[in-house]
Amino acid sequence: MCQIATFQGTSDGEHAARGCRQKMIKHDPNSMRKRKLPPCRAACPADVNVQAYIALIQQGKFNEAVEVIRRSMPFPAICGRVCFSPCQDACTRKEIDKPVGVRYLKRLAADIEREQRNKKPEPISVSHDKKVAIIGAGPAGLSAAYDLAKRGYPVVVFECMPEAGGMMRYGIPDYRLQKYVVAKEIMHIQDLGVEIKTNVEFGKDVNFETLRSEGYKAFFVAIGAQISRKLGVPGEELKGVFYAVEWLRDIALGKTVDLGEKVIVIGGGNSAIDAARISLKLGAKKVIVAYRRSRMEMPALPQEVEAAKKEGVKLNFLISPKRIIGEGGKVKAIEFLRMKLGKPDASGRRRPVPIQRSEHLYEANTVIPAIGQIVKTAGLPSLLLDKRGLAITANLSTLETRMPGVFSGGDSLTGPASVIEAVKAGKRAAESIDRYFSDRAIDRYIDDGDVSNGGKVEVEETTWVKHVDTIIKKPERYIGSHVDIGRWEASFEEADELLARNKETAISEARRCLECGPCTECLGNEKLCDADKAIINEKLCSGCNLCAVICPYAAVKKNDAEIAQVDEDLCKGCGICSASCPDRAITMKKLPDAQIVAEVETALRRAAI
């Protein structure tokens, strides 16, 4: 919350926002290039201004909070559900007790906004004549379309499936991400003026030539990685082997499958857990997830894994299938090899090494390999592909391919990743395409310092809360029972329950934010932020440093003369230092002791009446 608002006693204090930032830019023009961001925002691949929407939630301004999120990306509700939320992992509050429940707050805000929204957003007027075609209506494609539309480009998205959404629609199961949520968010994009053409398969129904002839000047290929990776062991052809992505897509399309009693899912990612949990829901009696590394290395969301375990999914680690044994063309068992962990590989995880003669059998009726996805390259021009024709190649930072005007990104370029990373790719594509059209150097935009469109700029993570190792850890007794912080780590179903709880809880949670970043940059006017500031009387200061110990924001430091100095950019005006200064050398600019005393006097007079 903006400090000035608090003390002006106005309810629209949030409008006073951006001051710090403005001031910072004024103070140091280079800060445009070197963005000082709070850890949450710095961690977000899509550059969502987390601190800002948390600040708005603190005031119960959920709609505005969502608006802030939409500045950066189009999927607040989706990310509020399925994002692996690096923002939350980066939250400074975790150094004190536990992180602020950012994802939950985002979800809550998005849901409230969706429910309260009673009119469609105004379409964005087209200001460019160059049309853009987006191939694939997954998160990457849609994000690119969203950003380009906001920039005034006419955009059409081509999707081969019956509905847009890509993995969000066909990959993530319903209990994690309800279809209507996806639909609503895509609807929002369409409302802005993006056209989505479904059931159009690229390479079959359309191709670059036809599209060019239709006037499209640029293309973003974001077809995702829709084919499951094969296990590469004998017996894969047997009946009862279902590949996760295709299998999940089928389920999403409403197909039914007979799984039998025993299901073994192979893999450790979210898809594997999804497959395992769905298997249970579909009636399997015994579901095992077999992962070749240990729990530590598992890429799936921990809370999902926990939920799966709670539901009865068994997790077997450090085993890898050697072959699938069939009986009558049907899966009967899997022979596993036991693994041990060797040296870390390129991904930083420890590489599993088979232990010789450790073969053993697991009975299974169904085997679901979920060990990764690859791109379907059929129908793509070879110029887009690598030498072996197995993957798309493009410049990883500008997303340019070898074909002029054709860009590619998302899972189809980098392999399967998360929604938020796909959003990042989409945003980047939009930026590149914009530059492509406006003849700005695409390859150099990194240095241009345009921060408004999510272009990659040099980001310096700052938090005003002191360096973690100097923080005195909050003692256990202070981590009380008032708020069950653990609940933000709940599974999606539990989160659902919580959604029913009041918004006040959310507000309380939002208030735990330390506002450790420079400025909330909320939706306010860009007038100078003028929070209360501590002032040091240097003559009185003995340099005892208590203020620096107490200040949560490291806003006070001693200078060379060993006298305390306030960094006004960092000071949030809490005044604890002033109340504690042993030399009484600190006063507050706006609310000095004298002011409080005067208020007390007034209050006492008032009370006497």
Partner: protein
């Protein structure tokens, strides 16, 4: 009926007054307590609290966020430690320490907040009017409160209060944690010492006094007073003015 004058120093983050959630009833606490809103309950300098009492408040209620949830991390812990010192001091002044209370509340939960205010108000009603109010206000307590105010304005108590959390919860400069009880004993000793010294200072700033006279006023053994004067002299708080017969008279020096 006695209407107590209660001043509430309430943390901005704990004060439910501006929550714009339609379902919230508007607060009804104003008639019961005069609220001075601050950024954090840790903002309240102990000097202000004692000053508030000196000016005639019947009760002072500090309200902050519950311990884990301070927006400023540990402002509430600072407030807790300051309140502890203040209560110790109040008990020395003769004013009931219960007239000061520190409570936690959530901005979002109005009911507990109201309960806190009501309970405190009722307690103050039970205690009755502050002895510092009215025509027959207790000069002695008032002067004690002023001495206490000077004591909390002085370096020693402030630095100890400020560092308490660090010393008792984390570690001191020698890598050791000071057990809370030990620290509290030390605080007691220093609170007593500082209060007495500032009391002597206040008395001698009004009038030249001898050790014996001071001892009678503060009701301590003269030997203890002499000891304090010796120490205060070395700290330039007090000086010998002149000797009358065999009796040295002391005057307070202005503390710089």
């Amino acid at each position: 009926m006695f209407r107590p004058r209660i001043i509430g120093f309430v943390c901005n983050w704990a004060l439910p007054k501006r929550i714009e959630i339609p379902s919230f009833p508007r607060m009804k606490i104003y008639p019961k307590m005069q609220v001075v809103q601050v950024m954090c309950v840790g903002r309240i300098d102990p000097v202000i609290v004692l000053d508030t009492f000196a000016k005639g408040a019947d009760g002072v209620l500090l309200v902050g966020c519950p311990l884990p949830d301070c927006h400023f991390v540990k402002g509430n812990i600072q407030a807790e430690n300051k309140t502890k010192i203040l209560k110790k001091l109040l008990s020395l002044t003769g004013l009931e320490p219960e007239r000061l209370q520190l409570e936690w509340a959530y901005a979002t939960e109005i009911e507990p907040f109201s309960t806190i205010v009501d309970a405190f108000r009722n307690h103050i009603i039970k205690l009755g009017q502050s002895p510092l109010v009215g025509e027959n206000s207790d000069e002695k307590i008032l002067s004690n409160i002023l001495a206490a105010k000077n004591a909390v304005a002085d370096f020693s108590l402030r630095v100890l209060t400020g560092r308490e959390e660090e010393l008792t919860e984390a570690m001191n400069a020698y890598g050791k944690r000071i057990p809370q009880e030990e620290f509290d004993d030390l605080l007691d000793e220093i609170v007593n010492r500082e209060f007495l010294r500032h009391k002597i200072h206040l008395l001698t700033s009004q009038k030249l006094l001898s050790v014996k006279e001071i001892a009678t006023i503060v009701n301590h053994r003269p030997a203890l007073i002499l000891r304090q004067i010796a120490d205060m002299t070395s700290k330039h708080m007090i000086a010998l003015d002149h000797v009358e017969e065999t009796t040295p008279l002391y005057k307070a020096l202005e503390v710089k």
